[in-house]
C-alpha cells in the first residue's frame, strides 16, 4: 500500500474528508489518500455559500479523469465560504490535499458530538489499511 500523508490537526471521515477547526469554522477538504485514489483531479463542484448542510450530506463533487465522487459534509451547519481557487485550478487537490480546502462550515450545536464521531489521523490510517485490498 502507498504511504499517505496525514494532517495531525485534522479529523477524518470514513468517506475521506478531513475537517480542521480554524477560528470557530470547520474547514473541509479531502485526504491525501482520497486524492491519490482519484488520481488527476480535473473538476470541483462547490456548494453555495449560505447553504445549510447536515453531517453526511453530499455537498460538493470532485471529479478526476476517470471518476466523480461526492464530498460529504463531516459536520452540520451553514456553508460560509467556498474555495473558488479550486474551480480554476482543481489540480491543487492533488498537489496539496491539506491546503486545498473545499468549503468552510459555521457549525451548529451538534459540533462536539459530530467531531467525536470522526477519526483521528492514526485511526484513519488504520481504517485505510483495513479497507485496502
Amino acid at each position: 500500500m502507498a504511504t499517505y500523508r496525514f494532517d495531525p490537526n485534522a479529523k477524518y471521515a470514513k468517506t475521506h474528508e478531513w475537517v480542521r477547526m480554524e477560528d470557530g469554522l470547520a474547514v473541509v477538504g479531502i485526504s491525501d489518500a482520497a486524492q491519490d485514489m482519484l488520481s488527476d483531479v480535473v473538476f470541483v463542484d462547490l456548494p453555495e455559500v449560505g447553504e445549510e448542510v447536515t453531517a453526511g450530506d453530499a455537498v460538493a463533487v470532485v471529479e478526476s479523469v476517470k471518476a466523480a465522487e461526492d464530498v460529504y459534509a463531516p459536520v452540520s451547519g451553514v456553508v460560509v465560504e467556498v474555495n473558488e481557487e479550486l474551480v480554476e485550478s482543481p489540480e491543487l487537490v492533488n498537489d496539496d490535499p491539506y491546503g486545498a480546502w473545499f468549503f468552510k462550515i459555521r457549525p451548529g450545536s451538534t459540533l462536539e458530538e459530530e467531531l467525536a464521531a470522526l477519526m483521528g489521523p492514526e485511526e484513519y490510517a488504520k481504517h485505510l489499511e483495513e479497507t485496502a485490498h
Binding site: S39, D40, V42, F43, D45, V61, E63, V65, K66, A68, V87, N94
Partner: protein
C-alpha cells in the same frame, strides 16, 4: 467472477508502479505514477508505450482468404495490397456491429486485430461463416504479443532499435523488421490520434521489447501509459470504443462510420440492412458535444431536449488536450446539427451543451500510401 488474466508484462507494470485494474477480463494498468494527464500529454507531445496484449489477433489464410474477408466485414478488402492495413467493422445481418477490427494484409496471409472483450465472440462468428470457402481462421492471440508505441516521437524511439528505415513508412501500412533484436510485424497504426506504431511479435519476448523501448524512449520523453490515457486519447480523436459508442445495438452509419462501409463491393453480412439505413438515414446519430455550463459529462448521463430525454452520453470527460468539457453521445436525427443546443443531465441537474464538430482533436497521422 472468473479469474482475471495477466499479460506477460504484469510484473513490469507493478515494478513501474502501475495501478492494476480489471478490464475486459484482464488485469491491466489504468495509470502509472506520473498520472493519466501526464501520460496523455506525453503521447500528444512526445511518445507513450501501451501494453495492449489483451487485444486479440486472428490469422486468416488459404486460397479463399479474400472472399472470406469480403463476406464477414464491411470494408472492400480487395483494395488492400500486401502490407496495407485498414480499420473495419464486422456486422450482423441486421447491420448492428459485432466488433470493430483492424485488418492487416501481410506477406503470408491476413491478420485481424480485435477487441479483447470480443475475442471469443469474433472467432466463433468468423468460424461460423467459412462455409463453402477454403480458408483457415486461427486465433493467434496467445503466441502473439501486442504493444503500441504512439506519439510524434514514436518513430525516433523505435528507430534507435532497428535497422529498418521507419521514416518513409506510410500510415496504415505494415512491415517486417527486427526491433530490439526481435523479429516483428510493425504496423504504422494505432488508436490515439497520433502517429505511431503497433508491434506484433513472439509473446516470450514481451519483457525484452518493453524494457528496451522504455530505455530508448527515455531521452525522447516516452512514458508508459495506462488505460485511462488510452481512453482520453482515443476519445479526443473521436475513435469509437466497442461497448460505448458502438455495440450490437448500434449500426455503422449512426456511429458515423459510414466511410468504412463499402456498400458497392460484393455481398457481405449486414449489407442489405446497411443499404436500407444508408438510404433512409439512421434515426439517431452520434454527435460531439461541448458543455456550455461547467460540468463533466460522463458515460450514461441522459441527453435531453426541453426536459425530454432523447439519448445518452457514450463517453465524456474534461479533454486533457483542449481543456474543455466534451462528450460523445447519441441524439435523434434533427438534433445532430452543429450548434444545436441540448441538456446533459449531470447527476440529475440539466447542464447546457451544444453539438460541435468531430473529431475534437484532429489526428496527426503521417500521410497514407498513395493508391495506384
Amino acid at each position: 467472477m472468473a479469474e482475471l488474466r495477466r499479460t506477460r508484462l504484469h510484473r513490469a507494470h507493478v515494478e513501474l508502479g502501475g495501478r492494476m485494474v480489471p478490464f475486459a477480463g484482464w488485469e491491466l494498468p489504468v495509470q502509472y505514477p506520473s498520472g493519466p494527464l501526464a501520460e496523455h500529454h506525453a503521447v500528444r507531445n512526445a511518445a507513450g508505450i501501451f501494453d495492449i496484449d489483451h487485444m486479440g489477433q486472428i490469422r486468416v489464410t488459404g486460397p479463399d482468404a479474400l472472399p472470406f474477408l469480403q463476406r464477414i466485414q464491411v470494408f472492400d478488402a480487395s483494395t488492400l495490397e500486401v502490407w496495407d492495413a485498414h480499420y473495419s467493422l464486422m456486422t450482423y445481418d441486421d447491420g448492428t456491429i459485432v466488433d470493430d477490427i483492424f485488418i492487416y494484409r501481410l506477406d503470408d496471409g491476413w491478420m485481424i486485430a480485435v477487441n479483447a472483450a470480443n475475442r471469443e465472440k469474433d472467432l466463433a462468428w468468423m468460424q461460423a461463416h467459412t462455409q463453402g470457402l477454403d480458408v483457415q481462421v486461427q486465433d493467434i492471440s496467445e503466441p502473439t504479443y501486442m504493444l503500441a508505441v504512439q506519439g510524434p516521437r514514436a518513430e525516433a524511439v523505435l528507430q534507435k532499435l532497428t535497422q529498418a528505415n521507419l521514416a518513409p513508412v506510410p500510415a496504415r501500412t505494415a512491415l517486417r523488421a527486427q526491433v530490439a533484436g526481435v523479429e516483428m510485424v510493425l504496423g504504422r497504426t494505432g488508436y490515439t490520434g497520433e502517429d505511431g506504431f503497433e508491434l506484433f511479435f513472439d509473446a516470450d519476448q514481451a519483457e525484452t521489447v518493453w524494457w528496451r523501448i522504455l530505455e530508448a524512449g527515455q531521452e525522447e520523453g516516452l512514458l508508459p501509459c495506462g488505460l485511462a490515457a488510452r481512453d482520453s486519447l482515443r476519445f479526443e480523436a473521436c475513435l469509437p470504443l466497442y461497448g460505448h459508442e458502438i455495440s450490437a445495438e448500434t449500426t455503422p452509419h449512426e456511429a458515423r462510420l459510414g466511410w468504412v462501409v463499402s456498400l458497392d463491393k460484393e455481398d457481405f453480412i449486414g449489407r442489405e440492412a446497411l443499404w436500407k439505413t444508408r438510404l433512409e438515414g439512421p434515426p439517431r446519430l452520434l454527435v460531439g458535444l461541448e458543455m456550455i455550463d461547467r460540468a463533466v459529462p460522463r458515460e450514461g448521463y441522459p441527453i435531453a431536449v426541453e426536459g425530454r430525454v432523447v439519448g445518452h452520453v457514450t463517453t465524456g470527460m474534461k479533454s486533457p488536450t483542449l481543456g474543455t468539457f466534451l462528450a460523445l453521445g447519441y441524439v435523434p436525427r434533427g438534433h445532430h446539427r452543429l450548434g444545436t443546443q441540448v441538456e446533459i443531465q449531470v447527476r440529475g441537474k440539466p447542464r447546457r451543451a451544444q453539438v460541435v464538430r468531430r473529431p475534437f482533436y484532429k489526428p496527426r497521422y503521417r500521410p497514407g500510401r498513395v493508391s495506384r
